[in-house]
């Protein structure tokens, strides 16, 4: 989790979060609590999950009880309270993808990354996930990495996808 840990320690990031919260408060003056969801999205998008420290910070800044912030963050499946990788690999296991061999693709990802569905790799780069239908059945089997669709994916394509994102991480993420 080195990547997330590093950002968490940067005061600039917290300043930037405060600015974002201020902006959202202005957008939701009638009902400040409504700023909570966009702020949680912002944190989720940065870290790939919502750290406890950020929950406390948001509660203070918005004047929403900490327990309520956690209640909201834990309710929506989009938000995660446990660390997630920089890249979430969602292999579609919907009917169409499944009959076109999604299980083999999933197995290949899992064995290559050493992480079962729901788990995160030790380097904090990848989280494996099962997805239900992604709405691209015509291109099955479909794999979604963060917001990017890869389709169709055969088991032999997996190592290329993995090395592509590993290389990308080297560029984007401070070592």
């Amino acid at each position: 989790m080195s990547y997330q840990r590093e950002i968490l320690e940067k005061p600039e990031w917290w300043q930037q979060l405060d600015e974002y919260i201020r902006e959202q408060k202005l957008n939701n003056q009638e009902h400040v609590q409504s700023a909570l969801i966009p702020v949680l999205h912002h944190i989720q998008d940065t870290f790939g999950y919502i750290p406890a420290k950020a929950i406390n910070h948001v509660a203070q800044a918005l004047g929403v009880p900490t327990s309520y912030v956690e209640g909201v963050a834990s309710f929506y499946s989009y938000f995660s309270l446990t660390p997630k990788g920089v890249y979430t690999v969602a292999v579609c296991m919907g009917t169409a993808c499944y009959v076109r061999g999604a299980q083999a693709v999933m197995d290949q990802f899992c064995s290559q990354l050493g992480a079962a569905p729901g788990e995160t790799t030790n380097d904090g780069l990848f989280t494996m996930q099962c997805a239900r239908c992604l709405g691209a059945c015509g291109q099955a089997p479909v794999v979604m990495v963060n917001n990017k669709i890869h389709a169709p994916v055969k088991p032999e394509d997996v190592s290329e996808i993995v090395s592509m994102y590993t290389a990308k991480a080297r560029e984007e993420v401070p070592a």
């Binding site: 406890a52 929950i55 406390n56 509660a59 203070q60 800044a61 918005l62 004047g63 929403v64 009880p65 900490t66 327990s67 309520y68 912030v69 956690e70 209640g71 834990s74 309710f75 499946s77």
Partner: protein, 592 residues
């Protein structure tokens, strides 16, 4: 004014104000729709679906607690189909609930049990997956057992809406939903103030007070220990309810008699401590009043209010009276003055306090309240635990003859009795402060300060002190405390503020008897009756001003010297500090 709405419920025509729910309309027609998550003092959640009814012409059954009544509506609350569906709903609530009723603390007092019984559930057709969570035993006041929780959400609402502590929330979703503090932190490390209102409103045993009966029984068994008791004013106004007696009476002598039968060696009274508290807090107020500040003087008897203030109103700590609570004063006097007088080693005294309050268990553990390295109070039993012990010992409470407490620490005036209800401390303090200022008692017809009585959340009164107005505010429940603190910050001038953490004051405490089968927890009518019992006690006493208590006068002569004197300061006063526990509830006011 909008027109009234007429509808028919179970063939009974009924007329209600616009905005009324079907449940409210049904109540007007004399029909009590079964309910679970609904509570009249809390917001509507509509999650349990027990209160479903049929509205003719509608496809689905509706939850009557939140569905508004409409003109011409025809409602059926008890068709065979509804009764069957309602039974299934309760059965599904039971299906992942532990089947340990016989060993559960709330056996016989459980709302879920009563509900299941009235639904006619005689076997369990559904066997669902069981939850397995660890109990949270970290707090000395309140313990949490998520395995017993049925997610009605009453605790979350009472904590957020009535107390504005918001320690609890429903976290996760679906089957995995748990009621917990932020980050699932141990209660002790959260903003929980230990008021115990979650216990009062919980239909099951998901929240309970931390047990002190075992420690008490051990002390009773120990031949070397001298067990000394005290009882809060509000306990006598409620303990009889544990035995099915109707509220409105103060079981004072009966409770003292029961304590002797439990094997307690010396039966004293927290009301003595209350009189003592008035001497110190009254003197403190008079001193501030004469010297011009810092005013207001804010009361410090209530431990939930103290923890709440330390967390959410640290800027107000400077106004808090430094006087300890009656319980802790009494405990300190027992282990010093009384122990010396009796020639007893204080370390051989087991001081037990019977309280209406769960947070007193927390207060008893505050290290700064100890005396000479010993805790001032060794164990705190709630009214419920006291009731349980009486049953455990096979004492027939209903036929006990009243007995007086032991002296000298058992005597009290009428002023001390009303400590148990909101506004009582203010009234008691005004009576004695008047005397301290003018060396003359208030005339008897001026002794009742009716303006500070009642159950409204915030009450204000201006009392004339021979030409000088004393502005007093009285609040009960912590949301009302927030209201008063915000007004104070906004520049409102007060000389005296009394805050009690529970609705109605200590009579509505988190350790009071559970609501009976026909009652609802926190019922204002019940609180009124308990308050009435205390006001009657006050009226019946010859001495109604704390400074008139002869044993208090003797205590100052023999031991303490003057109120606020050196020794009094050492034994009867304390200090507070800001707390920032995990997940502190932020205050908009603090940002300004």
């Amino acid at each position: 004014m909008a027109e009234k709405i007429s509808l028919t419920i179970d063939n009974i025509p009924v007329t209600v104000e616009p905005g009324a729910t079907i449940m409210e309309a049904a109540e007007k027609a004399g029909i009590r729709v079964p309910r679970l998550c609904y509570h009249p003092s809390l917001s509507i959640q509509g999650s349990c679906r027990v209160c479903i009814v049929e509205v003719e012409g509608m496809r689905n059954l509706v939850a009557s607690c939140h569905y508004p009544a409409a003109e011409g509506m025809i409602v059926n609350t008890r068709t065979p189909e509804i009764l069957r569906i309602r039974r299934d709903i309760v059965e599904l609530l039971l299906d992942n609930h532990p089947m340990d009723c016989n060993t559960c603390e709330r056996d016989g007092n459980c709302e879920l049990q009563r509900l299941a019984n009235s639904m006619g559930i005689r076997e369990r057709l559904f066997e669902g997956e069981r939850k397995e969570y660890e109990k949270d035993l970290s707090s000395p006041a309140v313990i949490r057992d998520p395995n017993k929780c049925i997610l009605c959400g009453r605790c979350v609402r009472v904590c957020g809406e009535i107390q504005e502590v918001a320690a609890l929330a429903q976290v996760n979703r679906g089957y995995k939903t748990v009621v917990m503090p932020a980050h699932d932190a141990p209660f002790m490390e959260t903003v929980c103030v230990g008021c115990g209102q979650c216990i009062n409103v919980c239909p099951t045993a998901a929240f309970l007070e931390k047990d002190a009966t075992q420690a008490f029984l051990k002390a009773i068994e120990d031949p070397e220990m001298i067990v000394v008791s005290q009882m809060a004013p509000s306990v006598r106004a409620a303990c009889g309810e544990c035995f099915g007696l109707a509220p409105g009476y103060a079981w004072e002598g009966e409770a003292f008699a029961a304590m002797r039968r439990l094997g307690i060696d010396y039966v004293f009274d927290t009301q003595f401590g209350a009189d003592l508290c008035i001497m110190e807090e009254g003197a403190e107020f008079v001193k501030k009043f004469k010297e011009g500040g810092p005013l207001p003087n804010i009361t410090s008897c209530c431990p939930t209010w103290i923890k709440f203030a330390e967390q959410f109103h640290p800027d107000m700590i400077k106004y808090l009276s430094s006087a300890k609570s009656p319980m802790s004063m009494q405990g300190a006097i027992v282990k010093t003055y009384w122990a010396e007088k009796m020639g007893i080693d204080p370390s051989k005294i087991f001081s037990v306090a019977i309280m209406c309050c769960t947070c007193k268990k927390f207060e008893a553990q505050r290290p700064e309240l100890g005396v000479n390295g010993l805790p001032a109070t060794d164990a705190v039993l709630t009214t419920r635990e006291f009731g349980w012990l009486i049953n455990h010992f096979g004492i027939d409470f209903n036929h006990l003859k009243p007995e007086p407490p032991d002296n000298p620490l058992g005597s009290s005036t009428g002023a001390a009795a009303i400590f148990g209800t909101t506004g009582g401390v203010t009234e008691a303090a005004l009576r004695s402060a008047y005397f301290m200022l003018f060396e003359e008692d208030l005339p008897d017809d001026g002794i009742d300060f009716l303006a500070v009585r009642g159950l409204e959340g915030v009450r204000e009164a201006v009392v004339d002190f021979r030409g000088t107005p004393v502005r007093a505010a009285v609040a009960s429940s912590l949301s009302n405390a927030n209201t008063v603190m915000d007004k104070l910050r906004a520049g409102e001038k007060y000389d005296w503020i009394e805050i009690m953490g529970c609705p109605g004051g200590c009579i509505g405490g988190g350790g009071q008897p559970y609501a009976g089968s026909n009652n609802i927890p926190l019922d204002p009518a019940l609180l009124e009756q308990r308050a009435c019992a205390l006001y009657n006690l006050d009226k019946g006493r010859t001495l109604r001003r704390s400074h008139q208590n002869p044993d208090i006068q003797k205590l100052y002569e023999e031991y303490l010297g003057e109120p606020l004197g050196h020794r009094a300061h050492e034994l009867l006063h304390t200090f507070y500090y800001p707390r920032m526990p995990l997940g502190v509830r932020p205050q908009e006011a603090q940002e300004k």
